[in-house]
């Protein structure tokens, strides 16, 4: 069940990583873990979305995304990034993971990226 792969395809100076956060490029992260098919066309809940680093990449695949994070400033940044990217299938919510308060809304996938 466990597999171990090495993402060595990019040996350029950029190396597929994003900024000071020391994290991989989000689209490559999704591809590397084999999540593309699981996310495509689905309703996705992202818990701990932060500033939307991964949210936008998920939204490019998913039907709809609800991105949740307890940090209001981070959600503001994520919302602005989504607006800039003209993504219309993303909504945001400020809430702690322990109290999502989503009502009756249901999802096909929940993503905890760097948030557990």
């Amino acid at each position: 069940m466990t597999r171990d792969t090495c993402d060595d395809e990019d040996t350029s100076g950029r190396l597929g990583c994003a900024g000071r956060a020391f994290r991989p490029d989000p689209a490559r992260e999704i591809r590397a873990i084999g999540a593309e098919s699981r996310l495509r066309g689905r309703d996705v809940l992202e818990v701990g979305a932060g500033d939307g680093r991964l949210t936008l990449a998920i939204a490019a695949l998913a039907h709809r995304v609800l991105a949740v994070d307890p940090d209001a400033a981070a959600i503001d940044a994520a919302r602005a990034a989504a607006r800039t990217a003209r993504l219309r299938n993303v909504s945001f919510k400020v809430a702690p993971a322990q109290h999502l308060a989503l009502g009756r809304r249901r999802f096909d996938v929940a993503v905890f990226s760097w948030s557990l």
Binding site: D7, I33, R105
Partner: protein, 130 residues
């Protein structure tokens, strides 16, 4: 963390999945120069505790019958720092990294202006909602 996994469970449809991706605490980041490993970064004790707590939370909800493991794995990615001072700055600001493995900083300092590549592991797990 267990609470968060319970909350997600309540929000997922019957055939849904949960994807957990995070730094792999069992694989210290490796430092490379000219393609050769010259040392490792050490995780902060708090980061190791957080990783262990997250592992326990996932184990707990599986044991409780909320989720079933579907598949898991590890991917490596690379991140380049322009020189040793840039990496020192990152480590100083990082909440996860505590420093260098013994002897590593000295080896890197011999050519402090040369780029350094950090090779880091992400662990992922797909869980099916039960």
């Amino acid at each position: 963390m267990v609470d968060a996994l319970h909350q997600a469970h309540a929000a997922l449809r019957a055939d849904a999945q949960l994807i957990d991706v995070r730094p792999d605490g069992s694989r210290p980041p490796r430092l490379l120069r000219n393609g050769r490993v010259v040392g490792q970064l050490l995780s902060a004790p708090e980061a190791r505790e957080d990783d262990a707590a997250a592992d326990r939370a996932v184990d707990r909800v599986i044991a409780d019958g909320l989720y079933r493991p579907v598949r898991a794995g590890r991917v490596w990615y690379r991140y380049r720092f322009q020189d040793l001072p840039a990496l020192d700055d990152y480590i100083r600001d990082s909440g996860r990294m505590a420093g260098y493995s013994p002897g590593t900083h000295g080896r890197l300092a011999r050519r402090a202006d040369a780029p350094i590549v950090v090779r880091r592991a992400l662990a992922y797990q797909f869980l099916a909602r039960i």
